[in-house]
């Protein structure tokens, strides 16, 4: 069983790599769109559009989103390797959840901060991005750690479009060696170490950072 480990570790690294890239890209998108959503007045068309996006991401399986990216990108004339199709699909998925995380964190900041900023003569957008967002960032850290473990789990589905991440690689090894149980158990153990490790980290951060467990559980 352990003889498969050296062949699984590069695949585990690919899983981590693709998850981190997707999380980082989704972070840039999610934080800004989430801040924008909490900035716009209710009923604003852009705010509505963002809600539709979040609804779409939460309302469809990640598998369908991955197939969507896989089949639709070529139709649009964008030819990418499976790796980058995977990055785009996971980014698209994670950004939807991160919009919610950012919005909830900003909405949890005391209203006095906004009023104080406005009283000092700052523009509304300056208050939102320079006063509210920086304070909310700290509160986003535990749910974002949690989100990273969700992305790692979702990355396993990229096996269906032949990205050689951990699940795909172990399937390939298992089907040539016929040691399904051994390889799959090893695969589960590797995922568990990463994901459980992240959830321990998230719980640790929850207790350390302001906002506390309440916010983190409110987001998911």
């Amino acid at each position: 069983m352990l003889s498969a480990l050296p062949r699984l570790l590069p695949a585990l690294w690919l899983t981590i790599e693709i998850s981190l890239i997707a999380l980082a890209l989704a972070l840039a998108i999610g934080i800004n769109l989430g801040t924008l959503q909490s900035y716009l007045r209710p009923g604003h068309p852009v705010r509505r559009l963002l809600r539709v996006y979040v609804f779409f991401v939460r309302g469809t399986p990640v598998l369908v989103q991955i197939f969507g990216a896989f089949f639709l990108l070529p139709v649009l004339g964008i030819e990418l390797s499976p790796f980058w199709v995977g990055v785009i699909a996971l980014t698209f998925n994670s950004a939807g959840y991160q919009i919610e995380i950012a919005r909830a964190a900003i909405d949890s900041i005391d209203k006095g901060q906004r009023e104080g900023g406005l009283a000092l003569g700052l523009e509304a957008w300056q208050v939102q991005w320079l006063i509210m967002l920086p304070q909310a960032l700290r509160r986003m850290i535990p749910p974002l750690t949690n989100e990273l473990s969700q992305v790692v789990k979702a990355s396993s589905v990229l096996s269906v479009i032949s990205v050689f991440e951990l699940h795909k690689a172990s399937n390939a090894i298992a089907s040539t060696s016929f040691k399904y149980i051994e390889v799959l158990t090893l695969q589960a153990a590797l995922y568990f170490i990463v994901i459980h490790g992240l959830s321990l980290l998230s719980r640790h951060l929850e207790n350390r950072l302001p906002g506390g467990p309440k916010l983190a559980s409110a987001v998911r």
Partner: protein
């Protein structure tokens, strides 16, 4: 592909997709029922059981939360025959998803019981109820109402997870759509319908869950009038 959607084709494949959607629904509802029962059993073991049993339940929950569902499905698919249990793809899928859902159901029950507050068990202890009576007659009936909204949410998660059963050839919605794409080489029409069907199912569950959160069924105390 010309401009616009091929509506005739969309109508032609709709019955097949509806059949897939129905299987998705059937699978997921079956799994949410089975995993709720598993969650009730394991949740009870976790509250009342001896220390080793509680740790075992916790380990199960941690493993389910720490391993992607697709891995659990693959393990069930390849592992069950090796231990002498030969099931078809459908029941393998039901078993795998129930394992996954059960882990989350335990957590849902725990959260509901914890949200009741210490006062309930303290009052029960003051009245001389045993631990078993406190759990069964005081904590459980109150928390069963509270688990309804998160369980609706869990059903939505199981519906999404059931799409992964396509990798073991269960002909649910995602697999049906995927097959149609490769049969007819038509992408947009199929994906659009698959997406809309999922949104319809999961969106209605979302509405139901939000309604339950404030409903009289779940929170009768909020509606108690002074009369």
């Amino acid at each position: 592909m010309g401009s616009g959607l091929d509506i005739t084709f969309m109508l032609e494949i709709l019955p097949k997709l509806l059949k897939g959607a129905l299987l998705t629904l059937e699978l997921s509802i079956l799994c949410v029922i089975l995993s709720s029962l598993a969650g009730l059993l394991l949740g009870t073991a976790r509250v009342l059981g001896p220390r080793w049993l509680r740790m075992l339940v916790q380990a199960y929950v941690d493993v389910i939360r720490g391993v992607p569902p697709i891995t659990i499905i693959a393990l069930a698919y390849f592992g069950l025959p090796e231990v002498g249990l030969t099931l078809d793809e459908y029941w393998t899928g039901v078993l795998a998803l129930t394992l996954v859902g059960g882990g989350y159901a335990v957590e849902i029950l725990r959260a509901a019981i914890e949200s009741l507050g210490k006062g309930q068990s303290e009052a029960a202890a003051a009245l001389g109820l045993s631990r078993l009576q406190t759990y069964w007659d005081v904590l459980l009936p109150q928390s069963l109402r509270l688990v309804l909204p998160p369980l609706t949410n869990e059903l939505a998660n199981l519906i999404k997870a059931s799409s992964l059963l396509s990798v073991i050839s269960v002909n649910e919605l995602a697999k049906t759509g995927n097959d149609l794409i490769f049969q007819h080489f038509v992408v947009i029409e199929v994906l659009l319908q698959v997406t809309l069907l999922y949104l319809l199912i999961i969106g209605s569950l979302d509405v139901l869950s939000r309604w339950l959160e404030t409903s009289r069924l779940v929170h009768p105390e909020r509606y108690r009038s002074s009369a």
